[in-house]
């Protein structure tokens, strides 16, 4: 638990991490029940499924896994009475470098996930769900299994849940060390027992042709936990915590060169980058200057310290005006980060100070993507390896004048040319590092 300070920062509002923060909080069901557990499920079972989906929509809950898709909209793609089996698959494959929140929910408060999942299943007429947990969390798999068994014994899962007539079975499924399985269609292939090559969309949107070619919802662990709190607090109250279009709280994972790295659960849009680094996380290490921030997991485009963005927005009279926005004043929510050309992604914020060599940092990420490319699409399979080889050679003193242009050329020919978003994920670091720190790549080429 060394990533979570027991005392929240004043800017934090802990909802997902409220229980986990309590001294002596244990992952068993008695502790959970003593802390208001399964009350939201009881409430849900008295509601109509459509009312729950409407509440999730009104709460402006966006997915917390990386893509940030509005959760209620995703659910409404499933037709309640289409006569087909529906499935929910929980994405607990947390593997995006910089992200480490779901680990704590799975280990410390598994019933929160089980309850959120049960509510979500009821809302979408789903009777079978799987929780996909990466195998590098072996204890989490045991803890979540145990929670499922406890919930069964108390009648919160299984046949005729709490006398409502609603049935749900949940099983844990462990991954086997592949980052690609965090991509939702790859995850489904993995769960079907096949090589986890992502499926092409269209036509294989999970909501249409998902697990076993049936309508399927794939949601991140944290996202489903939020559903419980939307019912507990009410959609309006929940939405109010965030910004329009990005409701509730978001768990930010801060790592790298700050005094207090860790998990911070903040209302969406509550802090700027400056407040996050210099207030919430206690600033940089003594004598250091900020150099760069990767704001949303390693795939998010890097931000350079000191840069000023030009943001176009509509003035009250309807004309478009351009506003200057310094890097540290960017608000850490989905739309603000998007407007400056990057993303909130999985909210994994990696901070780099002036002691860091950007060619070295990019090479580390390039090696990650080269290792994790599944190999299905040629541009990604070959390109991720080429990028990694080039940056490794630059670091080893073999840089050439043509390297920066070649790196850019390779990256530009991966993004948009692959079956899944891994192509973008592995190109964006190279594209953005080259664009933001050209002088370091030029120096490495000499």
């Amino acid at each position: 638990m060394s990533n979570l300070n027991p005392t929240p920062h004043p800017k934090e509002r802990r909802i997902i991490f409220e229980n986990i923060s309590k001294p002596g909080y244990a992952p068993d069901i008695e502790t959970y029940l003593a802390n208001g557990g399964y009350e939201s499920l009881k409430k849900a079972l008295t509601m109509k499924p459509a009312e729950i989906i409407d509440a999730v929509k009104a709460a402006n809950l966006r997915g917390r896994g990386g893509a940030g898709f509005p959760c209620g909209t995703k659910w409404s793609f499933i037709r309640h009475d289409d006569g087909k089996p529906h499935y929910i698959v929980v994405n607990g494959d947390e593997s995006e470098p910089g992200t480490f929140k779901d680990r704590y929910i799975l280990h410390e408060d598994p019933h929160q996930l089980v309850e959120g999942l049960a509510i979500s299943a009821y809302a979408t007429n789903t009777h079978l769900a799987y929780i996909y947990i990466r195998c590098e969390f072996p204890q989490a798999a045991k803890i979540v299994w145990n929670a499922i068994k406890e919930a069964h014994a108390k009648g919160f899962l299984g046949k005729n849940i709490l006398g409502s007539g609603f049935d749900l079975d949940i099983f844990v499924h462990q991954g086997a060390g592949a980052y690609i399985c965090g991509e939702e269609t790859s995850l489904l292939e993995s769960l079907e027992g096949k090589r986890p090559y992502p499926r092409i969309k269209p036509p294989y949107f999970p909501a249409v042709l998902g697990l076993y070619m049936k309508p399927t919802i794939v949601n991140n662990v944290e996202t489903l936990c939020h559903v419980k709190h939307i019912l507990r607090l009410g959609a309006a109250e929940y939405a109010k915590m965030g910004t329009p279009g990005d409701g509730g709280t978001r768990t930010m994972c801060v790592s790298g060169d700050v005094m207090r790295p860790g998990i911070y659960e903040l209302p969406c849009g509550a802090v700027t980058l400056r407040e996050l680094i210099f207030d919430v996380c206690g600033g940089l290490k003594p004598g250091r200057m900020l150099k760069a921030v990767i704001p949303g997991g390693s795939s998010a485009k890097v931000m350079r310290a000191g840069e000023v963005y030009k943001i176009k927005s509509k003035a009250p009279d309807g004309t478009m005006v351009e506003k200057e926005l310094p890097m540290l004043e960017v608000v850490m929510d989905a739309s603000s980060l998007q407007s400056v050309g990057t993303m909130v992604g999985s909210a994994g914020v990696m901070v780099l100070d002036d002691s860091r060599d950007m060619v070295w940092a990019l090479n580390n990420l390039n090696q990650f993507y080269a290792h994790e490319s599944c190999g299905q699409c040629t541009p990604c399979r070959e390109g991720s390896l080429w990028m990694s080889k080039m940056t490794t050679r630059m670091l080893d003193g073999g840089g050439r004048a043509s390297d920066a242009a070649n790196l850019k050329n390779v990256a530009d020919n991966i993004a948009g040319r692959t079956v899944c978003a891994f192509g973008e994920a592995c190109s964006w670091p190279t594209q953005s590092f080259l664009e933001k720190f050209p002088e370091e790549f030029a120096a490495a080429a000499k």
Partner: protein, 175 residues
């Protein structure tokens, strides 16, 4: 006396098979979905997956062996040869690397008596392992604990904020 063979499948017990059947029952729609769970069960029990393991799992799920072998060769977790009884997996990715994970991995290798520069090429091979079969050390990609970097997964336990100076004593406790 049972003749010992090197064929893993010859050592499958009724209890093991019952556990396998229980796992298959978690997938009422398609038992092919039990491929990964059975591979985990096999590797946890036997230490690695040999040809007879691939064949046994395939037969259990009405598949052909290639359906299982293609998973063993895809996923980094599975191996076709024995690793050490203690597997030390040091996180290599950015936050951990910034916090010194390359030095941490080297120190672990030195502490257990492995060449710090020996590579691990995957594709089912075991990570570098000490001759007595006690320790394996390898780099793995992000373990999702970046705020407490550098970290390592030692068998089932996550060790956080590893100081190079404490590595010798961590290893001594595992001996």
């Amino acid at each position: 006396m049972i003749e010992m063979t090197t064929r893993q499948a010859d050592h499958v017990t009724p209890a093991f098979e019952a556990e396998a059947d229980e796992l298959v029952s978690h997938y009422p729609v398609s038992k092919r979905s039990a491929s990964l769970p059975l591979l985990h069960l096999w590797q946890n029990h036997f230490g690695f997956v040999d040809d007879t393991g691939v064949e046994w799992i395939a037969a259990k799920l009405d598949l052909t062996p290639i359906n299982i072998l293609e998973l063993v060769t895809f996923y980094p977790w599975f191996r076709r040869e024995a690793a050490g009884r203690v597997v030390i997996r040091v996180c290599r990715t950015l936050a951990c690397a910034m916090a010194g994970s390359y030095e941490v991995k080297e120190k672990f290798c030195e502490a257990v008596g492995l060449d710090p520069h020996s590579g691990h090429h995957g594709f089912g091979s075991a990570p570098p392992t000490t001759p007595d079969g006690k320790f394996s050390v390898e780099f793995v990609e992000c373990l999702a604990s970046c705020g407490s970097a550098p970290v390592a997964l030692i068998n089932d336990d996550l060790v956080e904020k590893i100081q190079p100076s404490e590595i010798a004593s961590i290893v001594n406790k595992l001996k």
